[in-house]
């Protein structure tokens, strides 16, 4: 393998204008596969979710899943696409062992949805991504490469194939070329995939788990010299399977191409593979020896002609889309663009919203999710949503704080207990005995002890230096291990010392 140099990013952007293109594959979350009744459960035993159709046994035939068609149209509508009045599936012919029929049922020149757009908010500006097409196809099986080095295809002795994934409905969303993003290109790419993911979630059409491969992204990048007018040769980077990788892949490819072009070289039109470990890409198949896929209309399936009235109904019943919802919540919660953006980046909006719905004041809900919980998530390397705590539980904690039964310190302990699996907030409070002590009798005993140990401070307060009461209250808090009601303790100390404010 040749070692490739990279030009520092800022310099690359100074000299070249990147043009992006993104192809995203989303596995739909249907119960059954695209063209047969096999289950789609992830992680099932090998070849336990296959039938004559998805194994391509001789004589088998496909029948299209109505739900998958509906989901694709809903995705198209959410992306402001036109919906085809009449379109067909097509066969894409090429031999590959993980593709049982040696053709993929896909769509060619008649996609179900086309000519849409998606608006992104980046640094307070709206960036419009034009959508070329949204079409429906089927996934392939999964090969495991044996022998050779570490499961890599190159150097493997043989492979073993599991067809459980073969035939799962796959929606492909293709953008038009995206010029003019300048140095924001990596961020735009990431924001686009993030927004798509949220739309899919909102529509409820896919669980969009990138780590399970239910959302996969191919990134096209080309560079054009600043001031130029002709777009450069593009490369297509496959295997980009996390949001962070989308950003890194774009950035890395810009740096790589810039170095080649600056050295007078030329970009080869090719497929490149992204490596999560190094963040770099390596060359795959050259696209110059063009594949001849011999697309033709799929004769085993009949054309799709969605009833316009049905499409209208689907459009009318789309849920509130994430960008609209964010604007509404920002207004309702009275947050700045910056705060909202931070919540968006942290994937916290839905959680905060659910917490508010469960009864918490927005500010409190936000405080806990973006503060303590975000810190905990970060420490354990998990997404916020994957923390073992529900918005309802967070809402209960805010309620306990508001009613004075907990203070912030105790609340943090309660959260810790819930995260540690000790039960609901109330159970944690009980088990750990975390309720605030506001009982005057109990407090009085502690105060007496503290005053006795801190005679100097007590004298200062008596002599009018009321500020010194802080140390005494601190003593009480310490003695109560944080559980004392600090305000009440202060009041009682002042009364005891005969001082009034």
């Amino acid at each position: 393998m040749t070692v490739e140099t990279a030009m520092p990013y800022d310099e690359a952007i100074e000299r070249f204008e990147p043009v992006l293109g993104l192809e995203t594959h989303v596995e739909l979350g249907t119960e059954s596969k695209m063209f047969c009744g096999c289950k789609t459960t992830f992680g099932a035993p090998p070849n336990s979710q296959v039938c004559p159709t998805c194994l391509a046994l001789p004589g088998s035939l496909p029948v299209a899943n109505a739900k998958a068609i509906e989901s694709t149209i809903r995705i198209g509508l959410a992306l402001n696409c036109s919906i085809a009045e009449w379109c067909r599936f097509a066969r894409k012919n090429y031999f590959y062992p993980d593709m049982p029929k040696n053709y993929q049922i896909s769509q060619y020149d008649e996609p179900l949805c086309f000519d849409g757009y998606l608006d992104l908010e980046i640094d307070g500006e709206t960036v419009r991504i034009e959508i070329e097409r949204v079409h429906l196809e089927e996934d392939t099986g999964k090969s495991t490469h044996m022998g050779g080095s570490a499961g890599r295809i190159h150097g493997a002795d043989y492979s073993i194939v599991d067809y459980n994934r073969a035939g799962i409905p796959l929606v492909e969303i293709v953008t038009k070329p995206i010029p003019g993003t300048g140095k924001l290109a990596p961020e735009v790419a990431k924001a686009y995939v993030t927004e798509l993911r949220e739309i899919m979630r909102t529509l409820g059409v896919s669980d969009v788990r990138m780590e399970e491969g239910s959302l996969r992204c191919d990134v096209n990048v080309s560079l054009m010299p600043r001031g130029g007018s002709e777009w450069g040769t593009r490369t297509e980077t496959k295997n980009v399977n996390s949001l962070r990788s989308v950003e890194r892949a774009v950035r890395g490819e810009i740096e790589r191409q810039a170095a080649i072009l600056a050295a007078g070289g030329r970009i080869v039109q090719e497929t490149r593979h992204f490596h999560e470990d190094t963040g770099t890409t390596t060359s795959g198949r050259s696209k110059e020896e063009a594949q001849d896929y011999r697309y033709f209309p799929e004769p085993d399936l009949v054309p799709i002609a969605p009833d316009p009235a049905w499409v209208e109904e689907l459009k009318a019943t789309l849920p509130e889309l994430p960008s609209v919802k964010r604007k509404r919540l920002q207004a309702e919660w009275g947050l700045s663009d910056l705060d909202m953006q931070a919540m968006h980046n942290a994937d916290a909006i839905d959680l905060v919203e659910a917490t508010v719905t469960a009864g918490a004041p927005p500010a409190d809900a936000r405080k806990w999710w973006m503060g303590e919980l975000a810190r905990r998530a970060n420490e354990s390397g998990r997404a916020l949503a994957d923390l073992p705590i529900t918005p309802r539980q967070v809402a209960r904690v805010t309620e306990l704080v508001a009613s004075g039964e907990l203070n912030d310190k105790l609340a943090r302990e309660v959260l810790e207990g819930v995260l540690a699996g000790e039960g609901t907030p109330d159970e944690v409070v009980d088990k750990r005995g975390l309720k605030i002590v506001s009982d005057d009798g109990e407090l009085a005993a502690m105060i007496d002890e503290v005053l006795a140990k801190n005679a100097d401070a007590a004298d200062k307060v008596r002599s009018g230096k009321i500020a010194a009461v802080g140390a005494l209250v601190g003593g009480v808090m310490k003695a109560s291990r944080g559980k004392a009601d600090a305000a009440r303790a202060r009041q009682l100390i002042l009364e005891k010392l005969g001082v009034s404010e």
């Binding site: 119960e31 035993p45 039938c51 194994l55 295809i153 067809y163 054309p303 002609a305």
Partner: protein
């Protein structure tokens, strides 16, 4: 001059995954050439404005509900396989790209 060259036949054989001998390539170049010449007649019939028909009948919108049906057992699925390992189909090493 045949309608199709030997090189073209070799290309078709590659696309079709058929390992043909040189003798077969020559033989098919002649035969396919004859057939292609003969079927080229189709160009004379249909005018520009005739829409193509991909299907025998004009059916549309045939779908199945999103319902799970019984799959084969792994034993049934693998019953015809030339080679099996670990409940998976064992196949020779795969050239080409990583997925």
């Amino acid at each position: 001059m045949s309608a199709i060259t030997r090189d073209e036949v070799a290309h078709l054989a590659r696309l079709s995954r058929l390992a043909l001998t040189d003798e077969e390539l020559d033989h098919y170049a002649t035969q396919l050439g004859d057939i292609i010449e003969s079927v080229a007649k189709v160009a004379e019939v249909a005018a520009e404005d005739v829409p193509p028909s991909s299907h025998a009948l004009p059916l549309t919108n045939v779908f199945r509900p999103d319902e799970v049906r019984q799959s084969l057992t792994p034993e049934q699925a693998l019953s015809g396989a030339p080679a099996v390992e670990d409940d998976r189909f064992r196949v020779p090493r795969i050239l080409g790209e990583e997925e």
